[in-house]
């Protein structure tokens, strides 16, 4: 039962273990699953452990138990058309004047269904394959018309929200692993960054000193505690705040790291435009020039994050005097400066607000830069990878 749903979950990136499946059937035996609503809650409780997987779970559940258009067989379509969610949707469209009854009458069935699913799957970029409409063979307790009578609200304004009715609202989209960094998921990003900082108990028994002092004391126990050293990191950020495309990210990244300020020993922000040449600027307006040479005096183990889209005219990166700003006159091409930075600061990660899957379509400069720096995109996953990369490097 549901074996292919479990497999679908895995395919959608929800890590489930065999133990969860056993647990699910234990819940089943206890009679906890009394309706589709409960099935949803029980399954989510058992299979989803992290908030970033909620969204994938909801989508997989919606696809598997509520069906998906491309898998619908003809007889199922008929039942589907008379079902409540579809009828509700239709009424809403007419009420809101999006579709006139006339237009609906003339519209091919395919197109109508397409519109319905578009509403449901709005903003859904990926369609998880391998889903089916359950209950065709009568093997499942949940036939689709049963679903319909249960009043599953696929999409729309809901009064009293039961769990399943919020499907399609994408409540957890912003917590998805590949969600872009935004105000909503900044807490998660923070949690990820905290992995960089070793935090241990503050007090440790200094055994040697205790023995020594106890002996001195004539056998009278004298405990000596020492404060555990906290390895506090120095963090430097170089941010590309040149183009307006970067502006929202600059604020977010600043906010993200500022929230962590107390955890870092040092936290410095510098700015540049497109590429880094001789130096960077300590202010947003690019007035206070800070030569790289002076930054190179800093500890070599600082964690350096460069935030930029690495997208520029090739000449800005490869040619001498290539800088976009005329007043920057530098005979050394940007790429050499970047190499110098990478060589000086081994713990450097380049964070790119452009999502990884689109890198391929960008300027050749992105490729070249990602060969110099470890590059990640500015998503939750990207941040996680970046932190893991830095941690792994430290251990080596």
């Amino acid at each position: 039962m549901f074996i292919d749903f479990f497999q679908l979950l895995r395919r959608c990136g929800v890590p489930i273990s065999f133990q969860f499946i056993i647990e699910f059937f234990a819940a089943w035996e206890k009679g906890l699953v009394t309706n589709l609503d409960r099935l949803f809650i029980v399954m989510r409780l058992i299979f989803v452990k992290r908030v970033e997987h909620f969204d994938a779970f909801e989508r997989a559940f919606a696809a598997y138990f509520l069906g998906q258009i491309d898998r619908l067989q003809i007889p199922e379509v008929d039942t589907f058309l008379t079902s409540k969610p579809f009828q509700d949707w239709l009424n809403k469209q007419i009420e809101e004047g999006n579709l006139s009854p006339q237009a609906i009458h003339n519209m091919p069935l395919d197109e109508l269904l397409q519109k319905f699913w578009e509403t449901l799957l709005k903003q859904q970029e990926e369609h998880h394959g391998g889903n089916r409409w359950i209950g065709t063979g009568g093997t499942s307790p949940w036939g689709h018309s049963g679903n319909a009578q249960g009043g599953i609200r696929v999409h729309g304004a809901g009064g009293n929200k039961s769990a399943i009715k919020v499907l399609g609202q994408n409540r957890y989209t912003n917590y998805k692993q590949d969600a872009k960094l935004g105000a909503e998921n900044i807490r998660q990003a923070l949690a990820t960054l905290k992995h960089m900082i070793p935090v241990g108990p503050q007090n440790e028994l200094d055994v040697d000193e205790t023995i020594y002092r106890t002996c001195k004391n004539g056998g009278e126990i004298d405990f000596v505690f020492k404060r555990e050293l906290r390895d506090r990191l120095k963090v430097v950020l170089f941010m590309d705040n040149g183009g307006y495309s970067m502006t929202p990210y600059v604020r977010l990244v600043r906010l993200l790291f500022s929230k962590m300020r107390s955890q870092f020993k040092d936290l410095d922000f510098y700015y540049f435009h497109n590429c880094i040449y001789e130096g960077v600027y300590s202010d947003v307006q690019h007035r206070n020039f800070v030569p790289l040479n002076s930054l190179f005096q800093k500890d070599k183990d600082i964690r350096l994050f460069i935030v930029g889209d690495a997208n520029m005219a090739p000449s800005e990166l490869f040619s001498p005097y290539g800088a976009i700003n005329y007043y920057v006159e530098n005979a050394i091409p940007g790429i050499d400066w970047l190499r110098l930075i990478a060589d000086t600061f081994p713990y450097t990660v380049w964070l790119n607000p452009i999502e990884k899957k689109y890198w391929y379509y960008q300027s050749s400069t992105l490729d070249a830069i990602s060969e110099i720096f470890h590059m990640q995109d500015l998503t939750l996953n990207g941040l996680k990878n970046a932190v893991t990369y830095l941690e792994d490097k430290k251990e080596k």
Partner: protein
């Protein structure tokens, strides 16, 4: 044993089912979500509604995990051995007199089922969480000094809260039922407010929640949460105000936005 909403605490129907499922399945329930979504309060309400006693462990970063089960007070025993037990009634040769049980230990040893709250587990480091794994799994722990196993006669209802300050380890998450409490929507928050201020003016409630959600969307460093909203409404009511705005300015802004930077930013935007 059925947990239901009370007149003091608004319970989302989804959450109500989740709590009951967790109780039936005897699994720890891990609640995470923004501050002010009533995570900790939920544990208290469960105890109150079901008429159970509570054990509370408020986690600190210095915890190692074991002290939540028991502490063997070696220093006291050493002291007693040197200076005598006096009239404390402790027996120096009986280790049990020097064992102190922490919240987990007390909950396990109790003859009646208890509610065990592990508050803000994310403050502890991952080693601590790992130490607690088996304890939560088997509902038992071992007192190492005497190799004595303490097993829960009545498995407590375990509620764990996390503010997501740090990520929890996978093995730990695996042993819990996890629920992320989303921030209440405006219809829910109205219900919550009405529980606290039963005779609040409808218009005031509507206009102030509008302002509240607008502020939340602005992405301040510390966005206002439920607690701030309640404080703010309290202040507005105290002053007998009918609208959240006073000459176009939000009254008592300081009770909604706590950080100077946020307040300054807000004022700048207004201009």
């Amino acid at each position: 044993m059925q947990f239901t909403s009370t007149d003091r605490y608004y319970l989302n129907p989804e959450l109500e089912e989740i709590v009951n499922i967790a109780i039936l399945m005897e699994k720890p329930l891990l609640l995470s979500g923004e501050a002010g979504t009533g995570k900790t309060q939920l544990a208290f309400e469960i105890a109150k509604t079901l008429g159970l006693e509570m054990e509370i462990a408020r986690c600190k970063s210095t915890f190692k995990g074991e002290e939540l089960c028991y502490v063997y007070d070696t220093v006291l025993r050493l002291n007693d051995s040197r200076f005598g037990t006096g009239d404390t009634g402790r027996n120096i040769s009986d280790i049990w007199d020097y064992l102190r049980f922490g919240p987990i230990g007390r909950a396990f040893r109790s003859e009646k089922r208890r509610v065990l709250l592990l508050d803000e587990i994310d403050k502890t480091d991952s080693d601590t969480q790992d130490n607690l794994l088996d304890v939560l799994e088997d509902n038992s722990f071992i007192i190492r000094e005497i190799n004595h196993c303490v097993k829960a006669e009545n498995k407590p209802i375990i509620i764990i809260t996390s503010n997501a300050k740090r990520e929890l380890s996978d093995p730990f998450l695996r042993r819990c039922f996890c629920h992320f409490i989303p921030f209440p929507q405006s219809d829910e928050i109205s219900k919550i407010v009405k529980l606290h201020y039963p005779d609040i003016d409808k218009k005031l409630l509507q206009s102030s929640t509008d302002v509240f959600y607008k502020l939340r969307r602005e992405g301040f460093e510390k966005p206002p949460a439920t607690a701030e909203l309640l404080d703010w409404l309290g202040a507005l009511q105290q002053q007998g105000m009918k609208s959240p705005e006073n000459d176009g300015e939000i009254a008592f802004l300081g009770s909604l936005l706590k950080r100077t930077e946020d307040i300054l930013r807000f004022k700048r935007q207004r201009r």
